[in-house]
């Protein structure tokens, strides 16, 4: 056990902190006119130094750094401390780029990766359908070849950021006669085209982060398939792996816990700070046991990863544990908020007080659904982590 960094890593961290000190000015990033360009330029410099887009080859606009989980951790901590922006957030960096780098054709990498890294291409995800949620392989959206183009018909749901997307990656059935999993292709398409219309979905929180996407004779070139035709299910697994990794970090939970403690300190409950209420204190400190276990388990997993060793079942538990803690946080926050918990947060971007906690309270339910529901996670842990037999399915 040695929680300090070696001199090499300390030097790396010092360089990084100096870089942030020199190059990152939140004030300039907030400027209405020049803020966006400032952030882009900052990202370019950070990439040049090897802090961002580390897994992306230089020829596609990345920094092509050797895998080093400790460096990644140092970068995440330093950027978070400086409140500096990391990579462009979204499906593009989380899912499309890793998938293309792993299984895409060379021309696809050239065409899509750099533009995605730069934020010019923004990707909508076309996986779930109204009839296909956890049973994703049952999708019905069909693609039929018409000359040099696929003609696509069907409906997708839970499309994130649809109003800003330029492209979509989608699972479509290209081999209607093949068995369920074997008939699917992983397709890319322009999102702004006459065959695609979207309808925003208003969530229980009142916000509209998702849409339904209707594909009516949408078109895409014949070769805009990632991996082989009919092998899209396997390609999407590459994808899900990256999504799970993304939600596995302890940062979000630790951050929410700390905010909750702050809230409980400054919110009055029955005439004194809520944190002095014996029941609230006990629930907070009980939660902290789970939080600390999750946090140090994360460091342990990082050490294992840095040596290329598997964490076994432990590595599969992060999302489920985060979801569970998110629900506990929501419960405590609700009680601490008192009458404020009766108020809905503004979803038009107006100023907000503590009713913004309702976003966490509802969002923690979403966390237990998105990217594989908690029950799907339980199935994965049981079957892949502990070798329990699969439920007999069709």
């Amino acid at each position: 056990m040695d929680l300090s960094y070696t001199p090499e890593y300390k030097a790396y961290r010092a360089d990084l902190r100096a870089f942030l000190e020199r190059e990152w000015d939140p004030q300039k990033a907030r400027d209405r006119q020049s803020g966006e360009a400032y952030v882009s330029e900052f990202r370019r410099k950070a990439t040049e130094k090897g802090y961002l887009y580390r897994a992306v080859p230089k020829r596609y606009g990345g920094s092509e750094q050797p895998a080093d989980v400790l460096q990644v951790q140092i970068i995440q901590e330093a950027f978070a401390r400086a409140r500096a922006p990391m990579e462009v957030v979204g499906n593009g960096m989380l899912i499309v780029v890793p998938t293309l780098l792993e299984v895409g054709a060379e021309w696809q990498k050239e065409m899509f990766v750099e533009k995605t890294v730069l934020g010019e291409y923004r990707w909508a995800q076309g996986y779930s359908e109204p009839g296909s949620g956890s049973d994703l392989a049952s999708i019905k959206t069909r693609a039929e070849l018409d000359g040099d183009e696929w003609v696509i018909n069907g409906q997708k749901i839970w499309t994130t950021m649809a109003h800003t997307a330029t492209h979509m990656f989608a699972l479509c059935r290209t081999e209607p006669d093949a068995p369920k999993h074997a008939g699917i292709s992983y397709m890319l398409m322009d999102f702004k085209q006459p065959g695609i219309t979207i309808r925003p979905i208003k969530q229980i929180s009142g916000a509209q982060e998702f849409s339904e996407t209707f594909l009516d004779n949408a078109r895409t070139p014949k070769d805009w398939i990632v991996g082989e035709r009919g092998k899209g299910w396997a390609v999407s697994k590459v994808n899900l792996k990256h999504e799970r990794n993304n939600v596995g970090s302890a940062t979000r939970t630790v951050g929410e816990f700390e905010k909750l403690v702050t809230l409980a300190k400054r919110t009055m409950l029955n005439g004194k700070p809520a944190i002095e209420d014996p029941s609230i204190r006990m629930r907070l400190v009980t939660l902290e046991g789970y939080m600390q276990a999750h946090l140090w388990s994360g460091y342990y997993q990082q050490t294992l990863a840095s040596r290329g060793e598997s964490a076994g079942p432990l590595g599969m538990m992060n999302k489920l544990n985060m979801s569970n803690m998110g629900q506990t946080i929501a419960g405590i926050a609700t009680d601490v908020l008192g009458p404020t918990a009766l108020l809905a947060p503004s979803w038009s971007g107006g100023p907000m007080g503590d009713e913004r906690w309702l976003n966490q309270i509802f969002g923690s339910i979403a966390m237990a659904i998105a990217g594989g529901t908690s029950n799907i996670q339980r199935g994965v842990i049981a079957e892949r982590g502990y070798d329990l037999p699969r439920e007999q399915l069709d």
Binding site: D2, G289, Y290, R378, L388
Partner: protein, 353 residues
């Protein structure tokens, strides 16, 4: 940045587990639990020979000069195999007495296994110094929950005011009353003092505080071992037991219950490691993390033991099926030296909440 055991610690873990696996198969544990006493002198000697009681003692005092994380690794193995020995108490008491001049012989005996240590901390209403009521130079009163009191030669007794004293077995005015214990792998006794002389130990308050923290970490580690064992038994049973024509582990109802136990058990180990590491290297965090770890892992371990029995169905509730041994091990870990609610209250106060 390296959050893992060292190669030496992994080697020690493997050696201890291999020794315990040889001598403490499930049926052997059950046989010990069924006997009049679970005391197994050969097992105790074997663990002594591996040097476990010497782990924390400085090399200058004849010990190994290793850290609490190493002892925690040994303690987890004790829990995993429900080892019926006071080996961890000897390690902690040897460390404590190594701080007292003139106690080198006692330290040597504890390390060598000729002496057996027991902590007598439960002053009736609690385990912490503010509940200690006995006052020297001669003691009158009772102390409950003294693990292996029936075998101990050296009683480390909590005294009014927060100090510690030493009373040796056989001292006039001390009666040891063995109790019917839930955890038969670590039976407890009641000590009755009627004018027994106590030797006050000249210890700094921070040494006494560190002893208590180390005790909490050791029991937290034991609980992690017990929880893993119970969980493992339930998972393996679910793969072989058939009902409705299939193995029960294929039913989501059971599978998900087992996973809900597992997701709490698995991350508990890194928590204990961190608490131990704080004792070794991050003193400002040590007291709070020891309290959090003891509260969390023993809570999880009891929940796991109960859940594992439920997952087994009727067989799990029988005495002849060994699983109850680990539930009881966890129940003992949970209660002794303070329940989770006490440690959580303390941890909240230490956070300044």
């Amino acid at each position: 940045m390296y959050f893992d055991l060292t190669d030496d610690q992994k080697m020690l873990r493997d050696q201890v587990e291999s020794l315990l696996a040889d001598r403490l198969g499930d049926q052997q544990v059950l046989a010990l639990v069924d006997a009049d006493t679970s005391w197994d002198p050969a097992l105790f000697s074997a663990l002594v020979d591996m040097g476990l009681p010497a782990i924390l003692v400085p090399e200058a005092k004849g010990g190994l000069g290793m850290d609490l994380l190493t002892l925690a690794v040994a303690a987890e193995a004790q829990g995993k195999f429900a080892a019926p020995t006071p080996i961890i108490a000897n390690a902690l008491a040897a460390w404590l007495l190594s701080h007292v001049d003139g106690k080198d012989d006692d330290v040597g005996q504890l390390i060598g296994g000729e002496a057996i240590a027991a902590f007598a901390f439960c002053g009736g209403s609690g385990w912490t110094p503010d509940a200690w009521r006995l006052a020297g130079p001669t003691l009158a009163g009772e102390v409950a929950g003294v693990e292996w009191g029936e075998r101990a030669t050296h009683f480390i007794v909590g005294l009014a005011g927060g100090g510690l004293g030493l009373v040796r077995a056989g001292a006039p005015g001390l009666t040891v009353q063995p109790q019917q214990s839930v955890d038969r792998t670590r039976p407890v006794a009641k000590l009755v003092f009627e004018g027994a002389a106590v030797e006050a130990l000249p210890l700094k308050p921070e040494t006494i505080a560190r002893l208590q923290q180390a005790i909490l970490v050791a029991y937290a580690a034991d609980a992690v071992g017990a929880a893993n064992k119970a969980l493992g038994m339930a998972i393996e049973y679910a793969k072989v037991r058939k009902q409705f024509g299939r193995v029960i582990g294929s039913f989501q109802g059971l599978k998900f219950q087992l996973v809900d136990l597992a997701i709490e058990v698995e991350p508990s180990r890194p928590l204990v490691w961190y608490a131990a590491h704080c004792w070794d290297a991050i003193p400002a965090q040590a007291e709070r993390m020891a309290a959090l770890a003891k509260a969390h892992t023993t809570d999880v371990a009891v929940k796991t033991g109960r859940g594992a029995i439920e997952a087994h169905g009727g067989i799990g509730y029988t005495w002849e099926y060994p699983l109850h041994v680990w539930l009881k091990r966890a129940m003992h870990d949970r209660t002794i030296f303070g329940a989770p609610s006490e440690h959580r209250t303390h941890a909240a106060a230490l956070a300044g909440w």
